[in-house]
């Protein structure tokens, strides 16, 4: 290096978002010796991956991978984790940023042992967001069994009520602190990695696919929770209206994706997700019939293609080339989906017990613009400006990705952040 072009360098990296992308970036940077602050707005780390039942194509539960990552974080003194924390502002230039972070109260301090006495004492129930509202949880709750940090959360809904008092009285460790206040911290950091992830596209916006109108039409992420052992049904796939074991399920691919009325881009993961979910159903119900309605099936790469071929061999899984464009109510709380089979040129009216909409991913930043000087695509994805440097987008904040690619991409962004710090 001939010239010192850099601003005064602060030695740490701010990683925004504690999903698989942020975890990876934080760990990769910290494990080669850099200071990292990992900020997550939810009370737990793990993000969308924590909500999945199994990964494709290996069909293993994501909990083991997350567990390893959490262990690495615990063992690494260079990573500081802030949960329930939101970035309010990032100002400055590459190498010298000042970040303002608001930390919302958890009302539970580090003395919590996860004994559950507060939840037992609490009478109020709140909607379980982790399970997409398919069940309710106590006002004092552990977000999910694998939650890290392993600490209960008290819903602001019960703070200031008798229930709040009951929780406090029930806790023998003095972990419930109802007077906890939000606080703001200012950090000086040298680089920022935005790993703000994605949200499932709001299926109620897809008018013709009936989500929200018929209870037995669910989204693919809801299916993950239904199939997950920690989910609302304890891992039994049951249809929402009457807890019946579905004898037939239709998957509607590209539900909102590749559609200029909704998300104009391909969300990348939904084909593999539906193929994977078909195996969930087949494992639980050997006679169930599964209909997958698609425009094109996108299973890129050798391993995904192999997975698709294997699923295709199943005689109870039917693939129909044609997008579902209409749903209607059928007898016994079933749903009839209508599509034209573009191969035979016949319209199909398939009645099934349950419908799964393969909804796509929308960058989180589209609904909550990030408080920093960033380039954003019209669809809300962050565009990496490597010439400017300093701030980088990793994982699904940047583009729709599967977990494997997210890990690769996030590792790369860790390197980009490190380069910002050491470039002199």
């Amino acid at each position: 290096m001939t010239a010192d072009k850099s601003a005064p360098v602060s030695g740490s990296i701010l990683v925004v978002g504690g999903g698989i992308s942020g975890l990876t970036t934080a760990l990769e940077a910290a494990e080669v010796g850099y200071e990292v602050v990992l900020v997550e707005k939810k009370p737990y780390l793990g993000g969308r991956v924590a909500q999945l039942n199994q990964y494709f194509p290996k069909l293993c539960p994501p909990s083991c991978g997350l567990e390893i990552n959490f262990r690495r974080i615990k063992d690494n003194p260079r990573i500081k984790v802030l949960t329930l924390a939101e970035v309010e502002k990032v100002e400055g230039a590459a190498g010298d940023y000042e970040a303002t972070i608001r930390i919302n109260p958890r009302y539970v301090n580090e003395k919590c042992t996860c004994c559950g006495a507060c939840a037992a004492a609490c009478q109020t129930e709140v909607v379980n967001e982790f399970n997409f509202g398919m069940n309710r949880t106590k006002g004092a709750y552990l977000p999910h069994p694998m939650a890290f940090p392993a600490r209960y959360v008290i819903s602001p809904q019960i703070v200031g009520t008798e229930d709040g008092q009951r929780c406090q009285e029930a806790c023998v460790y003095g972990a419930v602190e109802l007077d906890m206040q939000p606080r703001t911290v200012n950090l000086k950091v040298g680089a920022v990695v935005w790993a703000t992830g994605w949200e499932p596209y709001d299926a109620t916006k897809i008018d013709n696919l009936g989500f929200g109108r018929y209870p037995n039409i669910i989204t693919n992420m809801m299916m993950e929770r239904l199939a997950a052992p920690s989910g609302p049904t304890g891992g039994k796939i049951l249809r929402p209206s009457d807890d019946k074991a579905p004898a037939s399920v239709a998957f509607v691919q590209c539900a909102g994706s590749r559609d200029e009325n909704h998300l104009p881009y391909c969300s990348y993961i939904c084909c593999m997700a539906s193929l994977k979910q078909a195996t969930y159903i087949r494992a639980q119900y050997p006679d169930a019939k599964i209909y997958i309605f698609y425009i094109d099936l996108r299973t890129p790469g050798y391993r995904y293609e192999k997975f698709y071929k294997k699923v295709k061999e199943d005689k109870n899984i039917f693939f129909i080339k044609g997008k579902v464009a209409e749903v209607s109510e059928a007898a016994d709380q079933g749903v009839t989906v209508t599509a034209e089979n573009a191969v035979t040129g016949e319209k199909i009216h398939q009645t099934v017990d349950m419908v799964v909409l393969a909804t796509g991913m929308q960058p989180t930043a589209v609904n909550a613009p990030l408080p920093a000087d960033l380039k954003v695509s019209p669809d809300g994805f962050l565009i990496n400006d490597f010439d400017k440097g300093g701030m980088f987008a990793a994982g699904c904040a940047n583009k729709p990705l599967d977990v494997v690619s997210t890990n690769q991409n996030s590792t790369g962004m860790a390197l980009k952040a490190i380069q910002t710090l050491v470039k002199r």
């Binding site: 590749r258 200029e260 464009a325 599509a339 034209e340 009216h349």
Partner: protein, 377 residues
């Protein structure tokens, strides 16, 4: 399943579809949303997904013979739900114009009717024809006498009829030839791809199907199944009933003139006159509404063929009504001039129908009747 199709694309045809308003055709990725979105598409070989791929591939013969392009009432539901903005509704509208052009002979006239730059010639033809025939026969009198304004004194009813009647039969002949070919092409295609298996053509069946279709057309049943552009039904109904009313009035006038030797103009108290006035107003308001709807609808393509037809209908109504109003107002010169212009439009309507978008009246009715007859599900 494994039939082989060797595609021989007609590139010129694809470009033509684009020119006639189907410019977004190539955005289609064959998801088939349109076939389901369409409220009137059948279950057996639904449209318009198959038309979209055939058009992309330039399969001209297949599309011109395809009755399904006529089953479409261009309500736009498919274009609204289309995830790609390929506008299947506009593509089918373009295909219909091309089908009309293909079946109408002579080809030159079909080219002219659909070419903006030829409009002055098309309007000059009746003007010249009237003057030449009028002067040769002496049936055109530029100095009509009498205090009462009687249009027949200026432009003799004989002159009207010796020009209009042959023109009418010319149009009917063009239609007959086009229709004959269209129906046989359509039938061959439907048998080939399984839209029907019915081969015994029995007049009673066809007549019954025709009656059912005509009733459904008059009630605008298909229009009303549409969700996106349902309001179009009102405008279309006004124009259609306006035309029907005026056709009835003209027929009565014709019979009364030749059988009873009674000449116009009729008194405003005459019920035939009431019908004429109501029909004329309906035509003017209906076509003005159509213009308003089309101008307001930014996401739907409006082509020259659309404007030609609506313009013709509007001008026909406007000149007709103004002729009558100026006659009642005693503005002789203006009224005679307007009458001349009005007859120009009447002639243009008769002569150019088989080549213009108005030919949908014949082809759509034929395709609907055929589909009804073939009992396609």
């Amino acid at each position: 399943m494994a039939e082989r199709l060797l595609v021989d694309p007609d590139v010129e045809f694809i470009e033509e579809v684009t020119r006639y308003g189907g410019g977004d055709l190539k955005k289609c990725f064959q998801c088939a949303t349109c076939s389901v979105a369409c409220p009137i598409s059948p279950d057996n070989r639904p449209f318009p997904r198959k038309e979209m791929i055939a058009a992309s591939w330039g399969l001209k013969d297949k599309l011109l013979a395809d009755g399904d392009i006529w089953l479409c009432h261009n309500c736009g539901d498919c274009s609204t739900l289309c995830p790609r903005g390929a506008k299947p509704g506009d593509v089918l509208a373009a295909l219909r114009i091309m089908a009309i052009r293909a079946y109408a002979k002579p080809k030159l006239l079909a080219d002219w009717v659909n070419d903006k730059s030829k409009l002055p010639i098309l309007l000059a033809i009746p003007a010249v024809l009237f003057i030449v025939v009028g002067l040769i026969t002496g049936l055109l009198d530029f100095t009509p006498e009498g205090d009462e304004i009687v249009h027949a004194k200026f432009f003799s009813s004989w002159l009207v009829d010796i020009i209009m009647i042959p023109t009418f039969f010319f149009a009917a002949g063009v239609f007959a030839l086009g229709l004959k070919k269209f129906i046989s092409d359509m039938h061959a295609q439907c048998l080939a791809d399984g839209r029907t298996t019915k081969t015994d053509v029995n007049i009673k069946d066809v007549a019954q199907a025709f009656v059912r279709v005509v009733i459904s057309i008059l009630k605008h049943e298909k229009f009303n199944e549409c969700t996106e552009n349902r309001d179009r039904a009102t405008a279309h109904m006004m124009v259609l009933f306006g035309f029907i009313g005026l056709f009835i009035v003209t027929s009565i006038f014709f019979v009364v003139l030749y059988v009873f030797q009674i000449h116009g103009p009729y008194s405003q108290l005459n019920p035939v006159k009431w019908l004429a006035n109501i029909a004329g107003v309906s035509l003017v308001i209906g076509s003005a509404l159509m213009i308003k709807n089309r101008l307001a609808k930014k996401d739907q393509v409006s082509t020259y063929a659309d404007w030609f037809l609506i313009g013709l209908a509007l001008m026909l109504g406007v000149t007709g009504m103004l002729t009558e109003m100026t006659r009642l107002g005693g503005m002789a010169g203006t009224s005679y001039f307007l009458y001349f212009v009005h007859l120009m439009f009447v002639w243009a309507l008769f002569c150019y129908v088989p080549f213009s978008k108005l030919a949908h009246l014949v082809y759509r009715t034929a395709a609907l009747t055929y589909t009804e007859w073939s009992r396609r599900k």
